[in-house]
């Protein structure tokens, strides 16, 4: 299983290496960068939802916390962007840790509601603290500095996010096939079985929730610096739904499913722009067809078909 995953990772590396020389213009490079950022966020969510079986409808809240940490701390307090990113990730992780025990006791729809509420609260705080965040209008984000030089050009950003994506995919592949990762997947299969073999269930749920939140926060920071502007929409409910849709379409409990889901659903709205106002309808129809014909998600369904054929 891990061998196939490493082959997949090799292909991903090759693909990422040649993309800059084949994209026709900066518009496409911009889309690829957004795809990479989304892929890591979706991967973080898939660890929580697909592998550990804990639904979250508030993940965009964590992305928003990272994004606003990177906007607010350098702008108002003059922090270095890198320290702001780390502080944002730490705060997000702390919040996740505090809420993890009470809300991850819940299951199924109840957990979905609780995480939905958490996301909404974060979004409202961002909207209301207008003196700091610019309120509903959003605010500009200072540019990122790495080791003394400013990240300005798209191609520089591209290499940064590509490296982060590769590192995240490698980390995730290793994690799920480790004692920690197997215990995590056990939570999805049967919690009581996990308990009786000695897994401290609340602790593992909290660990994956924090990991997932911290990854989302860091990617929120990166996204904010790359775009140069944040608005509260980054943390809203629709963004959370978009992320969970990417997980489901790509494939639950599939590392490469996360990447494929993020790539497709980032590209789709751009490709559907020709439908002029009806693109959301077409988008919805494609999702429904996906769920009917590929209920396990694209990558697991195709992988099963492929292995059965050989």
């Amino acid at each position: 299983m891990r061998k196939n995953a490493y082959i997949g990772l090799g292909l991903l590396v090759v693909l990422l290496a040649i993309i800059p020389s084949i994209v026709p213009n900066s518009y496409y490079l911009d889309i690829v960068i957004r795809m990479c950022i989304n892929a890591v966020i979706v991967l973080s969510l898939n660890l929580l939802v697909g592998y550990a079986g804990q639904i979250s409808l508030g993940h965009a809240g964590f992305v928003g916390m990272g994004a606003y940490a990177s906007a607010v701390l350098p702008t108002h307090l003059g922090w270095h962007p890198l320290s702001a990113m780390v502080a944002g990730a730490a705060c997000t992780g702390l919040l996740a840790l505090i809420v993890a025990r009470p809300i991850l006791k819940l299951k199924g729809h109840y957990l979905a509601m609780a995480t939905l509420g958490l996301g909404i609260i974060i979004n409202i705080v961002i909207r209301n603290e207008a003196a700091w965040t610019g309120g509903p209008d959003g605010m500009p984000v200072p540019s990122m500095e790495l080791f003394g030089f400013e990240l300005m050009r798209d191609i520089q950003w591209y290499w940064v996010v590509a490296a982060v994506l590769v590192a995240s995919v490698l980390g995730a592949i290793n994690l799920i096939d480790s004692p920690f990762g197997r215990a995590l997947r056990g939570l999805h299969g049967s919690e009581v079985a996990s308990q009786v073999v000695g897994v401290d269930v609340p602790r593992y749920k909290a660990a994956v929730f924090v990991l997932s939140a911290v990854m989302a926060s860091i990617m929120g920071s990166i996204m904010a610096h790359y775009i140069g502007f944040v608005s509260p929409d980054v943390a809203n409910f629709f963004h959370s739904i978009e992320l969970i849709t990417m997980v489901v379409v790509g494939g639950m409990a599939s590392v490469f499913g996360s990447v494929v889901g993020a790539v497709l659903l980032t590209a789709l709205p751009q490709m559907l722009a020709t439908f002029e106002g009806w693109e959301t309808v077409v988008f919805g129809a494609i999702l429904m067809l996906c769920m009917i014909f590929l209920p396990k998600g694209l990558v697991p369904t195709l992988a099963a078909r492929f292995t059965r054929g050989s």
Partner: protein, 253 residues
Amino acid sequence: MALLEVSDLSIHFGNVRAVQNVSFSVDQGIVYSVIGPNGAGKTTLFNLITGIYRPTSGTIRLDGKDIQGRSPDELARRGVARTFQNLQVWMNMSAIENVMVGAHLRLDRSIFKAMLRLPALRRRDCALRAEAAELMAFVGLGDYVGARADSMPYGALKRLEIARALAMQPRMIFLDEPAAGLNPKETQDVDELVRKIAASGITVVLVEHDMKMVMNLSDRILVLDYGKRLAEGTGPEVRQNPEVIAAYLGGHA
């Protein structure tokens, strides 16, 4: 001193007294069976001892230390393993991974070492996989080492749970109806497996309906009826007890 001492154990669910003032003790290294008609409270008793339920009153001692109300994962740390009557197999994993998670407490569970897949962790994982394959062969699942859990038949899954429990290297194992739903040949195999487990020095506590198996295997037997202790003793003692006969034949002797 007995390995497990249960005294005056009770649990009430509303007005239902599922287990009432049950006392018994299990010595190290024996096979101890709990029998009784359906609904007698056998599985509830297992759930109490293994920490799934918290008793309303009474004490449970393991090695002389109170363990009532402790969580299942704490009990696992003290060497208590169990299987389930209604299977609790991780269907989202392969068969061998199910057994590997059984060794959870003996492994390095660091999240960062896992992400980096450091050489020590990699070596330990390889050794663990080999160990799990051996355990699968021990319980008679040698043919399923490469299988997915959700593709295995019922009888094999029952044994997979036993292999997972053994991977914990427990001192004590609770088997909840390991032969339920199995054909006579498979039942015979489970009978032999339980003997092998007991011979390896693990104390076995068994809930089982197959009387032939219970009488063959058990050093001592506890009979429950309506949550109460009806009788306790060796096989022949229990078999001749008039109250036990009445409970099983449904009469009022």
